[in-house]
């Protein structure tokens, strides 16, 4: 059954709005727009709302009545409510008991292009200052650590080293083995055309050790450990744990950031070496079992292609990535807002910024190594 409202205008500039039917959420209000339009441009001064024929009702009725009352007040129409079900009057009185807080009503303001641009530049400047301050504090914390003045619990440092190192072996093994396997498989398709399958081993050894191993380890650690740093420190902000440290005179940088930055910077080069090994094993799997190369030939060609120079370049990449991931994760965590969605945002930003800065660092390092002829 529909919710029906009809307007009956009389000769004496009065009118009656008759409500009937079931006024339940979900039922369509018949004549809704026509009635509101009539009240917006009224040709009457007095209006009586008649609710005698309403059979059932819920918030739909009170919401519609509240809307009509607002329109009547705006257009200076005298109104009265007659024969409405018990409860409707009380609910309307409750709804109008506290006047609308005009001072807090937010209105969307049109912002010009220049204003928007200026805001972006100022925000960027503030953010840059913030990042510089964070880096300065991390440096100061490292300085205190090396002069034995920082409050770092040995247990926390070892735990972070375990988390960033040994506990990452599983995922690094799987991903880097598969990347080595994919590289070898894709390379072999072209090399087979020239009968040069044996060079698959060189392809894998050079690409994995020079940069691929480090990049894969970096991406894994950004998603795994960097995100975990942001989420952990962010949750600590929400739970006032960081405030508790500050008020106790303990630097959160020494206590929370330092062990994490130190652990990841130390572990990343080692993880890169491990990732190199797993990538080469992945390549060997394709070489030995799919291309039918002999183990002796594969090992001989791999050893020939393995240059200490490339391995060191990979390790340097890894060390730089370690610092970047730790800084991005800890920065986002320490600057996290104090609610659950802010923790989620900090975690996402940590991964995004880590990967962006890793890519920039790779470009810079590649340029430097090229200029240096290595």
């Amino acid at each position: 059954m529909q919710a029906v409202v009809t307007l009956d205008v009389r000769q004496d500039f009065s009118a009656e709005l008759n409500f009937s039917g079931e006024w339940l959420i979900g039922n369509i209000i018949k004549n809704r727009d026509t009635i509101i339009a009539a009240l917006e441009k009224p040709d009457f001064k007095r209006l009586v709302f008649n609710g005698k024929q309403i059979t059932r009702w819920d918030s739909q009725l009170t919401a519609f009545l509240a809307h009509l009352i607002e329109v009547c007040r705006k257009n200076k129409i005298d109104f009265a409510l007659n024969d409405f079900p018990a409860g409707v009057d009380s609910l309307l009185n409750l709804a109008f008991a506290v006047p609308m807080h005009q001072e807090v009503t937010k209105t969307a303001r049109q912002i010009s292009f220049l204003e928007e641009l200026g805001k972006i530049v100022l925000d960027f400047w503030e953010k840059t200052k913030d990042v510089c301050l964070f880096l300065h504090r991390v440096n100061a914390s490292f300085a205190r650590f090396f002069s034995h003045k920082a409050v770092v619990r040995k247990k926390d440092l070892l735990l972070e080293i375990q988390r960033a190192g040994a506990e990452a072996f599983g995922i690094v093994s799987l991903i880097c083995f598969l990347v080595g396997l994919i590289l070898a498989f894709v390379g072999s398709i072209q090399l087979k055309l020239f009968g040069a399958q044996i060079y698959v081993s060189s392809l894998v050894a050079i690409s994995i050790t020079r940069v691929m191993g480090a990049i894969m380890a970096g991406v894994i650690m950004a998603g795994r450990t960097g995100a975990s740093y942001a989420a952990t420190l962010g949750s600590m902000q929400v739970n006032e744990e960081v405030d508790a440290l500050k008020t106790m005179g303990i630097s959160p940088f020494d206590f929370l950031v330092l062990p994490r930055a130190l652990a990841l910077s130390l572990m990343m080069p080692l993880l890169v070496v491990y990732a190199d090994l797993m990538g080469i094993l992945g390549g060997a799997f394709v070489g030995l079992f799919m291309l039918g190369l002999s183990p002796e030939d594969y090992i001989r060609m791999t050893m020939k292609a393995l240059l200490m120079r490339n391995i060191i370049i990979g390790i340097v990449h890894g060390a730089v990535y370690g610092v970047i991931i730790a800084i991005c994760g800890c920065y986002q965590g320490m600057n996290c807002g104090r609610n659950a969605s802010a923790v989620g945002a900090a975690t996402t930003s940590s991964v995004v910024y880590s990967i962006v800065w890793m890519t920039i660092a790779t470009a810079v390092l590649t340029f430097i190594f090229s200029v240096c002829g290595v």
């Binding site: 739970n239 744990e241 508790a244 440290l245 008020t247 005179g249 303990i250």
Partner: protein, 251 residues
């Protein structure tokens, strides 16, 4: 003659350009149970952040046992030293989640004393006993209830035998019995350890049960509109806003 412990003069506190409170001045005397009360959003917790050195006031000064804490040339190092005389119980307990209760309480002792491990262990056990959590040394914060977290937080706040303990809405989220037990515990600590208590709360039963002095922060005028013993304020409220607050809107 009451001895002043904290002296706050003309605090103005703001977030950016949004002024939260202005011209806030009050004195907390030694061994007071000083209540900072007010409706939601009036800036009680922000004021506590300023009193404990977490947030800088835009204007005004604070003296902590006659030494400058904010203003009059006070530095962060001065505040860090003075805060060693203070303990804080945060609304959520704020226990460090990666540490056991014993490690949480031991942390300030390891940091600021030269006690050996066995002495620290004894003190930790005593503090946990005081708050009724004897035997919970090796539990992690995630393994205990909300009320127990608050009591453990109190044990940590008491670790260094502070001269003043700040409480941020200690009864929030507790059932009435746990809330009363916590009030009793606070009173016992105050009486036995001669500690000054500064508490932010809007829980009326707690305010009347333990408060000896108070201020009322008004969200509308953004300043203090009443001060004094809460029981006396209930008998003779100086204004309608406070009467309304202290009687849960019945007057």
């Amino acid at each position: 003659m009451a001895e002043p412990f904290l002296e706050i003069e003309n605090f103005t506190v703001a977030y950016g350009e949004n002024v939260i409170m202005h011209d806030v001045s009050f004195t907390v005397n030694k061994e007071d149970v000083f209540i900072i009360m007010g409706g939601s959003g009036c800036g009680k917790s922000t004021l506590l952040s300023v009193l404990t050195g977490l947030k800088q006031p835009v204007k005004g000064s604070e003296k902590f046992v006659d030494k400058p804490f904010w203003g009059n040339g006070a530095t962060k190092a001065d505040r860090d030293i003075l805060m060693r005389k203070a303990g804080i119980l945060y609304q959520s307990g704020a226990l460090w989640s990666s540490m056991t209760l014993a490690e949480n309480i031991a942390m300030p002792l390891e940091q600021y004393t030269t006690l050996c491990a066995s002495e620290i262990k004894d003190i930790v056990a005593l503090k946990l006993d005081l708050v009724g959590l004897g035997g919970f040394q090796n539990f992690y914060p995630a393994e205990i209830s909300g009320g127990m977290k608050k009591r453990a937080g109190l044990a940590r706040a008491l670790a260094l035998d502070p001269e003043v303990v700040f409480f941020d809405e200690p009864s929030a989220g507790l059932d009435p019995i746990s809330s009363k037990n916590l009030d009793d515990l606070i009173l016992q600590i105050k009486e036995n350890m001669h500690t000054t208590i500064v508490m932010v709360t809007h829980e009326l039963p707690s305010i009347f049960a333990i408060g000896t002095n108070s201020i009322y922060l008004d969200a509308q005028s953004k300043t203090i509109i009443a001060r004094g013993d809460p029981k006396e304020l209930l008998r003779n409220p100086p204004n309608q806003i406070l009467a309304h607050f202290l009687t849960r809107g019945e007057k």
